[in-house]
């Protein structure tokens, strides 16, 4: 952490739920033990088994669907000629979007000294990784000949062939893989000191060895800490533009196309906003149950929820602006194709999906203007779920309703997802959940060493009494 980050308000008992980012009365030891025992304790809670079993089942559904897909061909999906892209791309964009919150929280909020990020960044980053993993599946699966996916990579070959650099899909390959790699590094680097802690606290030999290897012999040397923090800051600095770029590039997949409803300059900003929007929704969806079942209310406090709710509201409004502009420009451009697309999107055969999306993404977050809603976990949870749905619908509307009626009425068509479309989608939800369950079981879901710095005692310079005065004036 940078020096100034410690200037931010921090409370001691009695707790003030609106400002607390950590519950009262914690010591280095208690924090360490509380978080690490979740992973180190011998007995795994029952709900974990239930949850993991369910997730694993769905993962198997995914593998089944993929197997059938490879066996028969892309035809098992609902895609057809006007609508060449269906669920696969919808899910891809949706997952990638979700994958944005993690890096955003850990990088951007770090640079902005938003200290409250500390207790959520770790599992947000994990969420990012798993979401990107799920997203990464789809571009491969949706290929007609997935076994030739490597054609998209620049590799030396006797045919002297190269990828076609002008295609946004190639940009995607680089953007998504870079994003995945950097997020992984970022996450792992953040984990190293905690892995050391686990190494030292583990009782079982196996755990000691595994954590020990992963910790790479970290010993908390002051010199190491120095370089470590520099590296972490630099990574944050790099990840920040990266996270913006990724969804921009994803939006290029559409904007570079000439399809009415795709060919629009507003896409990059509004895709990025949408990504953060859905990302935070997902963080809330995960955080709220987690803090409940593991009793982490002291680490993930009401204030965290409120802050995230505010971000949700803000990005939600940006997205709303995006919808508005899309429609307005459709009319204002005077381009008959665009204008028809807008009318068709609102009133055409897929109209209902559009209005449902409006309800989920525009109306539901308006409830967040009220503090009562922001500070009530279950209400937030509900809204987060709605937003997740809404964002998925948004991608569906963009992909399908734009394609199904473009330029020549003679080749207009309809898209009806098949059971395999659904199986693949649900399957990735399972994969995501399964990975996440493994994560919370075997790795500290909250950054221990960063939590330690939030404790008053972590402060070297300022004596206790002056500190309490400063807290009165945030």
């Amino acid at each position: 952490m940078t020096d100034s980050s410690r200037e931010l308000p921090r409370t001691s008992s009695p707790g003030d739920p609106d400002r607390d980012i950590i519950g009262p009365g914690y010591t280095f030891a208690s924090i360490t033990d509380k978080i690490s025992q979740i992973t180190l304790s011998r007995r795994t809670p029952r709900f974990w088994f239930v949850g993991f079993a369910l997730a694993f089942l769905l993962t198997m559904v995914l593998f089944g669907a993929i197997g059938w897909l490879f066996l028969k061909g892309i035809g098992i999906w609902g895609v057809n000629i006007p609508i060449g892209w269906g669920f696969a791309i919808v899910n891809f964009v949706w997952w990638i979007g979700i994958g944005h919150a993690g890096t955003l929280i850990s990088a951007i909020l770090l640079l902005l000294h938003q200290e409250w990020r500390t207790s959520i960044n770790r599992f947000a980053e994990a969420m990012t990784l798993f979401a990107v993993a799920c997203a990464g599946l789809f571009p491969l699966l949706h290929l007609g000949r997935p076994w030739l996916a490597y054609y998209l990579l620049p590799y030396p070959n006797t045919m002297a062939l190269w990828p076609q650099w002008r295609s946004p899909l190639v940009w995607d390959v680089f953007a998504v893989s870079t994003y995945g790699t950097v997020s992984l590094l970022f996450w792992y680097v953040g984990l190293i000191p905690d892995l050391a802690t686990l190494r030292d606290r583990a009782r079982r030999k196996g755990f000691q060895i595994v954590y020990g290897m992963l910790a790479m012999g970290w010993r908390g040397s002051a010199r190491h800490w120095h370089r470590y923090e520099t590296a972490y800051l630099l990574l944050a600095g790099l990840a920040t533009p990266l996270v913006i770029s990724v969804h921009t590039v994803v939006s290029f997949d559409f904007t570079i196309g000439i399809v009415p409803g795709w060919h629009s300059t507003i896409f990059p900003p509004y895709f990025v906003a949408g990504a953060i929007y859905s990302g935070f929704a997902m963080v809330l969806t995960l955080a709220i149950p987690l803090r409940a079942v593991y009793g982490l209310e002291d680490f993930i406090t009401i204030r965290h929820l409120q802050n995230m709710a505010k971000i949700l509201l803000a990005t939600g409004l940006i997205v709303a602006y995006g919808y508005l502009m899309e429609t307005f420009i459709g009319w204002y451009s005077g381009n008959p194709f665009d204008w028809y697309m807008v009318k068709n999107r609102l009133l055409g055969p897929y109209g209902p999906t559009y209005w449902l999306l409006i309800a989920c993404n525009l109306l539901s977050p308006q409830a967040l203007w009220w503090k009562r809603v922001r500070s009530s976990p279950w209400r937030l949870f509900l809204i987060a779920l709605l937003v997740n749905t809404g964002m998925w619908l948004e991608r569906f509307v963009i992909v399908v309703t734009s394609l199904h009626r473009d330029f020549l009425p003679s080749s207009w068509g309809m898209y009806v997802p098949t059971i395999w479309d659904w199986a693949t989608f649900i399957g990735t939800l399972g994969l995501f959940a399964a990975l996440f369950f493994l994560f919370i079981r075997f790795l500290p879901m909250i950054s221990i060493f960063e939590m330690r710095t939030l404790i008053p005692e972590a402060d070297v310079e300022t004596p206790a009494e002056t500190r309490s005065r400063r807290e009165a004036t945030p």
């Binding site: 002297a160 062939l161 870079t178 970022f186 606290r201 790479m216 010993r219 040397s221 590039v249 060493f449």
Partner: protein, 187 residues
Amino acid sequence: MTAPAASVPAEEARLYGIVAEFETPGGLVAAARRVREEGYRRVDAFSPFPIHELTEALGIRSTRLPWIVFVGGVLGAATALFMMWFSATIHYPINVGGRPLASWPAFIPITFELTVLFASLAAVFGMLALNGLPMPYHPIFNAPRFAMASRDRFFICVEAKDAMFDRERTARLLDSLGASIVSEVEG
């Protein structure tokens, strides 16, 4: 209280240094300052979380890491641009949608991505390299209760290699700084 001083001179060679354990970060920082004022140079501190005061207390020089990252970034950008320009205009020039062979605007996204990728890799592996990690074994791990360094205890270690190092005096000095335990660590 002092740890039992080793009586057999032969052991001196295998002595790594003297370690003192503190309860609070404050204690550690103060100790670090004193030790350095005394003129010790081969001193290191160990804490469960970063303590910035230690940087100046121990006189740690600022790291070269940012330069490494910068080079990495430049390298990434160059690689990307060259690869695309070379392949699109020299190695595999072909008319795609009537666009120019060197469609530089289309090259920007990948250039950016590779810049970030290379820079990030440089940052992480540079950091590890400079820190000499991974390092499975280090003498300091032999220090009693050093496992606490990753929980809630703060350690300072004066290495035997230090010019001013003297088993008795150094130990006494550390003891006088309010360390809960002062002990010798074997190398």
